[in-house]
Symmetry: C2
């Protein structure tokens, strides 16, 4: 164990009642919950860096954060102590001690998001906080899958960036982009080196335009080429979105 331990934390959270990753003027943020618990354990303020800033209502199965502590503590004790103090909606799944240079955000090489749509006339009592309910019509998933595939590769994704975002570097590589149906549940899963603000949710809004038959699958290429937010579909609700995992280079790479 190092004198000053540095950790990679893997986190799951139900974002329903939270204002998202980042501290806000009102409401409870995930970052804040983690920093408050660590401050109790440390007896001093602690800063936690997250791999991605999930919005209010967005969930995580495998968010990653990095943190440097002043006191020596082993990973297992840290996990147990944090989970004992955190609300049940936020869990530390794993803690691993890392070299001091590790940074959850800057070292991430890939992120995977999933967006879930409940596509049947009657909503589900069990999916009301975890899937966007699209009552009808039955969406054309094969057409959506064709459109989804057009996102793969390196593209300028300016069309899918939240309006008002300051980022001018809007080129990203998408490794995989696929959509499948299992009964009433439609699942879109996308992996890429990084995502712009609201990017996954406005991609899904664009896919749903295709799924409703309002636009052909080839329209996705036009939307990308336009580099204009108003060409794409609307930003769909946050509660269908989950940050599935964040990948880092294999140790020693």
């Amino acid at each position: 164990m190092r004198e000053v331990p540095h950790f990679k934390l893997t986190l799951a959270y139900d974002g329903t009642a939270l204002v998202g990753w980042q501290r806000q003027a009102e409401g409870t943020a995930i970052q804040q919950l983690l920093e408050d618990v660590l401050a109790i354990l440390e007896g001093a303020p602690v800063t936690v860096h997250g791999a991605g800033r999930t919005d209010a209502g967005v969930h995580a199965l495998g968010q990653v954060a990095s943190v440097t502590l002043a006191r020596a503590i082993d990973a297992q004790t840290l996990t147990r102590a944090m989970n004992a103090h955190l609300p049940e909606t936020v869990r530390v799944l794993d803690a691993v001690e890392m070299p001091p240079a590790f940074h959850a955000r800057f070292d991430a090489v890939a992120k995977t998001y999933r967006y879930r749509i409940w596509n049947t006339p009657v909503s589900s009592p069990f999916e009301r906080y975890y899937a966007w309910h699209v009552p009808d019509p039955q969406l054309d998933v094969p057409a959506m899958a064709l459109a989804a595939r057009a996102l793969e590769g390196r593209h300028d994704f300016a069309s899918f960036q939240a309006s008002g975002s300051p980022t001018t570097m809007t080129v990203r590589e998408i490794f995989s982009s696929a959509i499948t149906r299992d009964g009433a549940l439609i699942t879109y899963e996308v992996s890429g080196e990084g995502f712009l603000r609201h990017m996954v949710r406005s991609i899904v809004g664009t896919l749903v335009e295709v799924g409703r038959g309002r636009k052909p699958p080839e329209w996705m290429r036009e939307v990308i080429a336009s580099r204009s937010r108003i060409e794409a579909g609307r930003t769909v609700p946050p509660h269908g979105l989950v940050l599935v995992k964040v990948d880092y280079p294999a140790p020693g790479r």
Copy 2:
């Protein structure tokens, strides 16, 4: 459409904040929610008969109820009107008009229940109301599967009846009884002609004794043969239980 329509309703509900199927002195029951909504639509009191009386905290993916209405209404309109008035935690999945003799409870020929266990040290933010958390040890699922299979067939299940239950007819036929693991999630699924009060939950308590290695799989036969509640494992928490479906004879049989 008949003058006096009689319906079979298929229902899903999240039992977390409900006191169970049957009306209680305090809290909200599913039967009560349905009867209150139907009374508004009918302008008169209505009685709903459920296939099974699920306890507080128990969920349903396919509970069945029967109801006779005084006013003519078609199945689709009834479904929409009920869902418009019910809380989001309770949904009418389907309504079918039936012959007047149909009774959800007396005509049922099989019920299927599922019990979910989250078996890993860290709990899940997404399963906290839908699976019983057994942090450790890792349960021996193959041994539990052997014990589960011993329940299949026609047996006297007095050992698994809630203490104080008045029922003396405790013989039931179990059609299938199986348990599987998928990562941290262990799922027990049992189908039978009927179940005694708390029967599935005390079966799971008994299976977990085997899974913890405290008893061998063969112990299940001894517990059944004893016909004594104190020989079986404890009644596990309700929130892991879900009524999956209720079967009826095929029409015309």
